[in-house]
Symmetry: C2
Subunit: 146 residues, 2 copies
């Protein structure tokens, strides 16, 4: 395990947060590997490749008249020389073009692999749990402890 | 990156599938680190530690009169010397004690870290996407391609 790698991944998460605040899709896309495998919060079940990320970022940013706010909480990072992961919760807030207010906690796991030209995000998994009794996604769970 | 590590993690996934079929909680628990960080399919949003895994396995196995069937599809494994991840879809099937039939596709990301006595699962993230229009979890998406 490598402290240097861990610090580099922490910087990538900082960069990610700052880029979302600027609605800077180019920086976010540059973090991704061409063939990134994604399990997104919203359908489809599985998505592959950087083009799919680009489309979903356009849709995400375009959906908000105010926001999206994006705060990372409870970040865990572990990394070896050439592979590492980050697990965290993020809080999304803002107002959609529909007028609906968003106030949502999302679980996120991202895996980075070191390439010749630096770290690239090769896998991302984002979700909320669901209530089996109602079948409803739990999008407004209170912030967990810690 | 290490082919040996990758093969070892593939074996752990095989062991996991076989253990679910036998309802063998002891083998499943032994794969987990004491402090495993879990983002489960069902609430809570975040769970920590092996005891929480034990409780959720009891609840899972106890909920089925037939099953759970557990098939792994589209497995991706990448690993460095001491850290690796597996991303896959699993199909859960069977009949609950309520009589309800389960036929569900779940996305799963699991991270293993090599300890002195072998690989341990340090992070797991399981989910289905949800439909933002209805707020419903999409538990019966058709099997994705590939």
């Amino acid at each position: 395990m490598s402290d240097t790698s861990r610090q580099e991944l922490e910087q990538l998460i900082d960069e990610r947060v700052a880029a979302v605040h600027r609605r800077d899709s180019a920086t976010l896309l540059r973090q991704h590997d061409d063939k990134v495998l994604t399990y997104p919060l919203l359908p489809p079940t599985v998505s592959r490749g950087r083009e799919a990320i680009a489309a979903s970022l356009d849709q995400w940013f375009g959906g908000y008249v105010d926001g999206p706010g994006y705060e990372v909480h409870d970040l865990v990072v572990e990394a070896d020389e050439d592979l590492g992961y980050c697990a965290f919760l993020y809080h999304v807030s803002g107002t959609l073009t529909s007028g609906d207010v968003v106030d949502m906690w999302v679980r996120s796991t991202v895996v980075f692999r070191r390439q010749d030209d630096g770290w690239r995000l090769v896998h991302a998994h984002e979700s909320v749990p669901f209530d089996p009794a109602t079948g409803r996604a739990l999008t407004s769970e209170p912030p967990p402890e810690g």
